[in-house]
């Protein structure tokens, strides 16, 4: 995966990722307002393959999985953060959106070009010529991600049953 970095701070919450006012509609409309409150240009400037970078506790707040779904819908290839809120982290992986924990996420600046291998857990900052330390997913989650998320994983499980 290769794309540009969109950088946000600590505690990016689910209300800015998926605003309540648009929750009753479809994912198209909701995704157009993703991160509106922090960067009104985000939804129109992000392109498929780009990355969202966060600080501590990315995705805190609600259990609404549209927070992760909106990012995936906009084509975001992975979210890389210092740490994730628990429910968002599970939601992202369940939906097949890579969520990578990197203690060095803050070394990425807006517009940096990154090359990311989610499975191997490697992040290369092409713009700055740096490689960032990144935690690999534990095996039980790797199985989930490799299947493409929880639904395809269960689909296979039920077919074999």
């Amino acid at each position: 995966m290769s794309g540009r970095a969109f950088v946000f701070g600590d505690n990016v919450d689910t209300d800015v990722l998926a605003p309540g006012a648009y929750m009753k509609g479809g994912i198209d409309e909701l995704a157009r307002h993703c991160l509106d409150a922090l960067d009104p240009a985000f939804a129109t400037s992000v392109a498929p393959g780009d990355f969202v970078i966060g600080g501590r506790n990315f995705g805190m707040g609600s259990s609404r999985e549209q927070a992760a779904q909106a990012l995936k819908h906009l084509g975001v290839a992975a979210v890389i953060a210092t740490s994730f809120a628990g429910i968002f982290y599970r939601n992202a992986l369940n939906l097949g959106l890579a969520a990578l924990v990197s203690a060095e996420a803050r070394k990425v600046y807006a517009g940096d070009r990154l090359e990311v291998d989610a499975e191997a857990g490697t992040i290369r900052n092409v713009t700055r010529g740096e490689t960032l330390a990144c935690q690999a997913l534990p095996p039980h989650l790797m199985t989930l991600v490799a299947a493409g998320g929880l639904v395809p994983y269960l689909e296979r499980k039920f077919k074999h049953a």
Binding site: M23, K24, D36, S63, N91, P138, L150
Partner: protein, 447 residues
């Protein structure tokens, strides 16, 4: 002999069918109860179950509550509620509470939560169930669909962070103040998706609804669950709710020598009313540090801040007083039962006679889904759990958080003030008309 375990470990071990589990282990647990609401529920899980070609594993273990889009304010909300009702009927879901209030309050009121249960909820404030000695946590809709399909969920057994509050809270200080102080002290990720267990003499003395507030806002600390060991107070609530309690409640407590990650000890007696400034619950401090913040709206609502006890706190301040001119006080009781009981004991009349505007029991403005949202640049103080940017309406709106006492006092004064000055009835001469600043006027002057 099993090695010593925390309450969280005991609850997970039972659900995982093991004699003992320990923090860090990855286990698969059987789910005793799955709770969903109209937003994250049927409209999201139905397409997934269809794709998988399976039904609900056990409709008797599922509770559905409509609270987010109720009552329907537009055609799309009506469609979501209609879909919810049809899905509940088609899938023979045993327990359905349609427009009876907010799930985290309605579900225990109807006796669905008991010590020892392992439950998931399709909402982040599901840790509220921990007040009853349940291991209950929030999940997204895809995860919920997985539970509905299989009756199981995986988890990493959480470590326990023990939070002790000893002593007595002073009059006018509530569980909400405790939680705002904890958000400031530990941060929004202080819970690190582990288990928070509350203990200490203040917790022992707390009524169930205050315990629910503590566990509810474990979500704001980023914990997976908030837990309180059940005791006689729990048993009394369960009896009233018609929940059967079998066996020995004393089983559901941490062993004294169980390993915990951290232990934090606080003194309840010295805690002042807390207010969280925009845009984070962790941005909290003593109300005395809030300098002349005038308000347009005061909101008493949500699972966090509009239970019967919360309404009574507001009434204690509003008794014989009036909402200041230019300020609107909205009250959305957390459940129909809270509303009925508040009507029966005179609490409701105290609120409405003071000028409060009654909203339907449901989530309403808390998450910006329903009525009571804010315009650009408006200022609100709310008894809700979150004040994230744009959550309650316009992105430029500023939301402060406080206890029901503090929200009610702000409604009377027209600005954020210490509610402890409002706990005695007002002198007769000031019985009519608020003595506070009129924020709209003041704003006009500032311009």
């Amino acid at each position: 002999m099993t090695p010593p375990q925390t309450l969280a470990e005991k609850l997970v071990a039972q659900a995982a069918g093991q004699a003992a589990v320990h923090a860090g282990a990855i286990v698969t647990a059987r789910v005793d109860l799955a709770m969903m609401h109209d937003s994250g529920g049927p409209r999201r899980v139905a397409p997934i179950l269809e794709r998988l070609g399976v039904g609900v594993w056990d409709p008797a273990r599922v509770v559905v509550v409509t609270d987010h889009f109720t009552p329907a304010g537009d055609a799309e909300s009506a469609r979501i509620l209609d879909l919810t009702r049809r899905w509940v009927a088609a899938n023979k879901i045993a327990h359905f509470y349609d427009m009876r209030g907010i799930c985290h309050v309605v579900v225990p009121e109807h006796g669905h939560l008991r010590p020892g249960l392992f439950a998931v909820g399709g909402d982040s404030h599901s840790p509220t169930g921990g007040a009853f000695g349940c291991f209950m946590f929030g999940v997204g809709a895809t995860e919920m669909a997985g539970v509905l399909a299989t009756g199981e969920i995986w988890l990493r057994v959480p470590e326990t962070i023990r939070i002790e509050w000893n002593g007595t809270l002073s009059a006018g200080v509530a569980a909400k103040d405790v939680m705002l102080a904890l958000c400031a002290a530990l941060g929004m990720d202080g819970g690190d998706y582990q288990a928070i267990e509350y203990a200490g003499s203040m917790i022992d003395m707390s009524p169930m609804e205050e315990r629910m507030t503590l566990c509810n806002m474990a979500a704001e600390l980023g914990a997976q669950v908030g837990l309180i060991a059940p005791d006689a107070t729990t048993a009394q609530y369960l009896e009233r709710a018609g929940a059967m309690v079998g066996g020995d409640l004393a089983v559901w407590r941490s062993d004294p020598d169980a390993t915990v990650r951290a232990r934090h000890v606080f003194d309840a007696a010295t805690l002042a009313p807390q207010v969280a400034a925009p845009h984070s619950p962790a941005n909290a401090g003593s109300v005395a540090d809030i300098d002349r913040v005038t308000v347009d709206q005061c909101y008493i609502g949500a699972c966090t801040g509009a239970k019967l006890g919360d309404l009574r706190m507001a009434a204690a301040v509003l008794k014989g007083r009036r909402v200041a001119r230019g300020v609107r006080l909205l009250v959305a009781p957390a459940s129909l039962e809270a509303l009925n009981r508040a009507a029966a004991d005179g609490t409701l009349a105290t609120l409405t006679e003071a000028g409060a505007i009654l909203l339907p029991s449901g989530c309403n403005a808390c998450g910006g889904y329903g009525v009571g949202v804010l315009a650009e640049n408006e200022v609100c103080i709310a008894s809700t759990a979150r004040n994230f940017k744009g959550r309650m309406g316009a992105a430029s709106a500023r939301v402060y958080l406080g206890s029901p006492y503090t929200v009610a006092a702000a409604a009377v004064a027209g600005r954020i003030v210490d509610p402890r000055d409002f706990l005695r009835p007002p002198p007769a001469a000031q019985g009519k008309g608020g003595a506070g600043v009129r924020p709209n006027q003041q704003k006009a002057l500032e311009r």
